[in-house]
């Protein structure tokens, strides 16, 4: 993995000037995003054990729910649960919930951790003075996080299937990939909003925890959306992973889904993606301006 | 009880830094000798200075006495208490001031910081508060007492750091670069304070400011690469190189320092250069005699312009250069 680094001094003065006149600020710098994503992935590959750890750890966090369910409802099923959710086996039900939710958890923690890390190593301000839109840097980080997150989610899924002895329809793979792609795209917008909040509140660890835990509470992971109070159900549907969890669960457990319902899900996710990107870009830009006016970016 | 308040006995500290080049083997080990057999005794009420460049071992020595670093061999005693065997007593007997503004809590106010640390020195709340206010007053920080440290200037934070080390009015003080990075007024304030108010204290001070050592210290140990190279009063140290003069010159252009070293009678020579201008410092037995030959070498042989020329009394830096071939500021 060697990269040749070009010596800037070999450039002549003229070409430097040409570079400067050519330079135009862009709203989104895709190559910067790519470079940043590659950097993060290269670092990640150096610690292969991390993938395994982060694949297995979530099972330790989720397992208490299965154990609690076993303790209060008996192994695997309950009539009340079947009545409100439409599924028989709550273990099979929950594991898919975990699988999809890991994308959300990952994107929230990914952004929080990135910020914290750059703050600690003092590279946040230098990074933000580079002549690329900051949102591209974020996107790059988010992109590498989704690749890592996918690996971890798959490891988790395989482990959980093995550990709890649950199975899913193999025909679900293609539609699941499609749903996840759109969902991840929507999550990026959501991530930009989180990043904006972190910039303003300067307290990444608490804030990421707060957001991660509340979205977890609202998401239909261990329980169907119907188990939430009516007024809260609407909020739950705004979280990008909610539609993802419901749709993927439907296909993976039943093996099929009616085409209109599937198209409807895709449409709804696409709509959410657009909204979140708009909101995310706006709120991040606003937060950036806010911190610059107060000149408080490095000191947390 | 011995006559000395601080006794340092054959202190040696060897760090072994392990570099892992592969996941399992091979492992590369590197030995770094931070202190080599250092001994030094400080009598009651005296100020001793450790003078040397960065990485000479000054901070390791201070940290070892402060019980923060365990020595590989040897020991030290503070007020008769062994820093290894009776470390809690030794810690109670001394105040340590590391010249690091991060060694107090930035989220607490000046007063809160001092009260907090006073309680770690076993003071009940009222007494701690009284002592904190007294010290803040002496440091001229009374009107900033309730300001969070993060909102104060660097100099003010350093004053709090300094006041913190005085909180229990210890008979022994270890001051590690107390004026580093301070603007001149603050630095002068602190030095005056040490000189006027802390007369009865036994102090070990590290610094790389020559004039600070000159002004404050009764005796100075010149330290380089973990060893004490020379020891004495500032006057004695300078007398030691008295028979040598030092010549300072400012030159337009870059002379060949190696050739200068070859000139007869030159004992040592060093050069710094910037933007095509150079400053050279040369020592010799008879500076005035050498001066003519040096000038002629520079002007006639090298064709350089000499802007400024001076034969100087030796400074502590010259002494250090003489002993180690290295400058303190390097």
């Amino acid at each position: 993995m060697t990269e040749t680094i070009q010596e800037p001094s070999t450039k002549s003065v003229e070409s430097d000037m040409a570079y400067l006149t050519d330079f135009k600020p862009r709203i989104m710098d895709w190559s910067a995003a790519r470079v940043f994503a590659t950097k993060n992935l290269k670092i990640a590959i150096r610690y292969p054990a991390n993938f395994l750890v982060w694949g297995v750890l979530p099972i330790l966090w989720f397992a208490p729910f299965i154990l609690m369910a076993t303790a209060i409802a008996g192994p695997s099923t309950s009539t009340h649960f079947t009545n409100i959710s439409g599924f028989d086996d709550f273990v099979q039900f929950s594991v898919i919930g975990w699988f999809v939710f890991m994308y959300l958890d990952n994107s929230i923690w990914g952004i929080g951790n990135n910020f914290r890390w750059e703050q600690f190593s003092g590279t946040l301000e230098p990074l933000f003075t580079a002549p690329v839109p900051r949102i591209s840097i974020l996107l790059g980080a988010a992109f590498s996080d989704s690749i890592q997150g996918t690996l971890q989610a798959i490891i988790m899924l395989i482990f959980a299937m093995f550990l709890f002895g649950v199975e899913y329809a193999i025909t679900a793979i293609f539609p699941t990939v499609l749903i996840l792609l759109i969902m991840v795209f929507a999550l990026y917008g959501f991530g930009f909003m989180v990043a904006g909040l972190i910039l303003v509140f300067k307290d990444p660890s608490v804030l990421t925890q707060l957001i991660a835990e509340s979205t977890y509470m609202l998401s239909p992971i261990q329980y169907p959306v119907q188990a939430l109070p009516k007024s809260v159900q609407a909020i739950a549907y705004v979280i990008p992973t909610t539609i993802g969890i419901i749709t993927v669960r439907e296909i993976a457990i039943n093996g099929t889904m009616s085409l209109p319902a599937f198209v409807q899900s895709i449409g709804a996710l696409g709509f959410l993606a657009l909204i979140f990107w708009g909101l995310g870009m706006l709120s991040f830009k606003w937060a950036e301006k806010w911190t610059k006016e107060r000149g408080h970016m490095g000191g947390f | 009880m011995t006559d000395y308040t601080v006794e340092i006995e054959n202190l040696t500290k060897t760090y072994i830094s392990v570099k892992r080049r592969a996941i399992v083997f091979p492992v590369e080990k590197k030995k770094v000798e931070a202190l080599k057999n250092v001994s030094l005794d400080i009598p009651k009420g005296q100020v001793y200075g450790l003078l040397g460049p960065n990485g000479a071992g000054k901070t390791t020595l201070i940290k070892t006495i402060a019980t923060l670093v365990l020595p590989t061999a040897g020991t030290a005693r503070v007020m008769g208490y062994d820093v290894l065997q009776q470390s809690a007593y030794a810690r109670a007997a001394m105040g340590v001031c590391q010249g690091n503004e991060r060694s107090i809590y930035w989220k607490l106010s000046a007063r809160e910081n001092l009260i907090f640390f006073a309680k770690l020195y076993r003071m009940p709340h009222n007494e701690a508060k009284e002592r904190a206010d007294e010290l803040l007053g002496r440091m001229g920080l009374t009107d900033k007492a309730d300001e969070k440290a993060e909102n104060l200037s660097h100099g003010m934070r350093m004053k709090i750091v300094f006041a913190r080390s005085l909180i229990h009015d210890p008979p022994v003080l270890l001051l590690d670069e107390p004026t580093q990075g301070l603007d001149p007024t603050f630095a002068t304030d602190l030095r005056e304070y040490v000189k006027q108010e802390l007369k009865n204290k036994t102090i070990l001070l590290t610094t790389h400011y020559m004039h600070e050592a000159d002004m404050l210290c009764d005796k100075i140990a010149l330290i380089n690469k973990g060893e004490i190279k020379s020891f004495g009063t500032p006057h004695e140290l300078k007398e030691g190189v008295r028979d040598y003069d030092s010549l300072h010159m400012k030159i337009v252009g870059l002379p060949d320092i190696e050739q200068i070293k070859q000139i007869e009678d030159v004992m040592s020579a060093s050069m710094t250069s910037k933007n095509g201008h150079s400053e050279i410092v040369v020592t010799a037995k008879d500076g005035y005699d050498l001066a003519y030959r040096l000038l002629s070498f520079l002007r006639d042989k090298s064709g350089l312009k000499v802007e400024h020329f001076e034969v100087k009394e030796p400074t502590l830096d010259d002494v250090f250069l003489q002993l180690t071939g290295r400058r303190i500021a390097d």
Binding site: L60, I72, A73, I84 | S103
Partner: protein, 292 residues
């Protein structure tokens, strides 16, 4: 001090020794930590919300599974049919356990990060007192969380507590702290010596939480994990705490829980303290107090 001529302040300091001096230092550390925490507004908010955020998902999941407030299965396993009370009281302890593990376990690392660890180490207090001080803080911090969650459970979710059990439940927490301090010392050692130590700690604390009978009796755990559970002080703390708060003085498992806790106290605090002393020496040998 044998020598004359020292100032009054210094002489007074010198004459104060022993447990009271250490306690004063520990409480100063606890207060200092409150001041630092309260200067971050978000962490105050987090502190208030956390107990609920922890508890509510279990509540929703439980309702979705049973549809009522009674569970026959739980009755069979534990003799308690009121699953809501069982879980509400069981998880009340979570916040306290987490703030002890993460708050106190990482206290020294945080001091290292902000640059104050070396200064603290030059003061004459016992070095263990530094960790005990942050345990004291997190006990207050986490204890408030327990009260908050239990209060809300009673007021909002209709859980009933046995008033006579409150004092004995506190005594159980008191017993638990000693063994937990052993765990905390172990965490401190990991954090100060291992690279990416927080990952190991995350793993350890997840296991501890998994085998603790907070939302289920340990009977539903796989057999191997049941053995781990028996050796964890958290298990007996949660059992004893819940037992007293549900049954009051009529709680039957009291003797087992107390004896188990006392045995674990002795083992954990001794092993932990020894580990801590060894680590503290190692770190000073490496001269690594200021770096990581």
């Amino acid at each position: 001090m044998t020598e004359e001529g020292q100032s009054e302040i210094f002489q007074k300091m010198w004459s104060r020794k022993g447990f009271r001096a250490e306690l004063r230092a520990a409480s100063a550390i606890a207060i200092k930590q409150w001041k630092v925490e309260l200067s971050y507004p978000l962490s105050v908010l987090w502190f208030i919300i956390m107990p609920f955020i922890w508890f509510i998902p279990y509540l929703i999941a439980g309702t979705a599974l049973t549809g009522s407030s009674e569970s026959i299965h739980l009755q069979d396993l534990t003799g308690i049919s009121d699953w809501l009370s069982y879980i509400a009281i069981g998880t009340a302890f979570t916040g306290l356990a987490l703030s002890l593990l993460w708050g106190s376990g990482f206290a020294l690392r945080r001091e290292q990060n902000v640059g104050t660890l070396e200064t603290l180490m030059t003061t004459p207090m016992n070095r263990e007192t530094l960790v005990w001080g942050s345990t004291l803080h997190n006990l207050q911090h986490g204890g408030l969380g327990v009260i908050l969650q239990l209060g809300a459970s009673v007021l909002i979710f209709g859980v009933s507590l046995n008033v006579w059990g409150i004092l004995p439940a506190l005594a159980i927490i008191g017993l638990s702290i000693i063994a937990m301090q052993g765990v905390i010392f172990a965490v401190v050692c990991i954090v100060l010596t291992a690279k990416q130590g927080w990952m190991i700690v995350e793993f350890l604390s997840s296991i501890l939480m998994l085998v603790a009978p907070m939302t289920y009796p340990i009977a539903v755990l796989p057999p191997i994990l049941q053995y781990v559970s028996v050796a964890s002080p958290l298990t007996w703390t949660v059992e004893g705490f819940r037992g007293f708060l549900m049954y009051g003085l009529a709680y039957e498992g009291v003797i087992t829980a107390v004896i188990a806790l006392i045995i674990l106290d002795v083992i954990f605090v001794i092993v932990g303290t020894l580990l801590f002393r060894a680590t503290e020496r190692l770190v000073r040998q490496r001269g690594a107090l200021s770096q990581f």
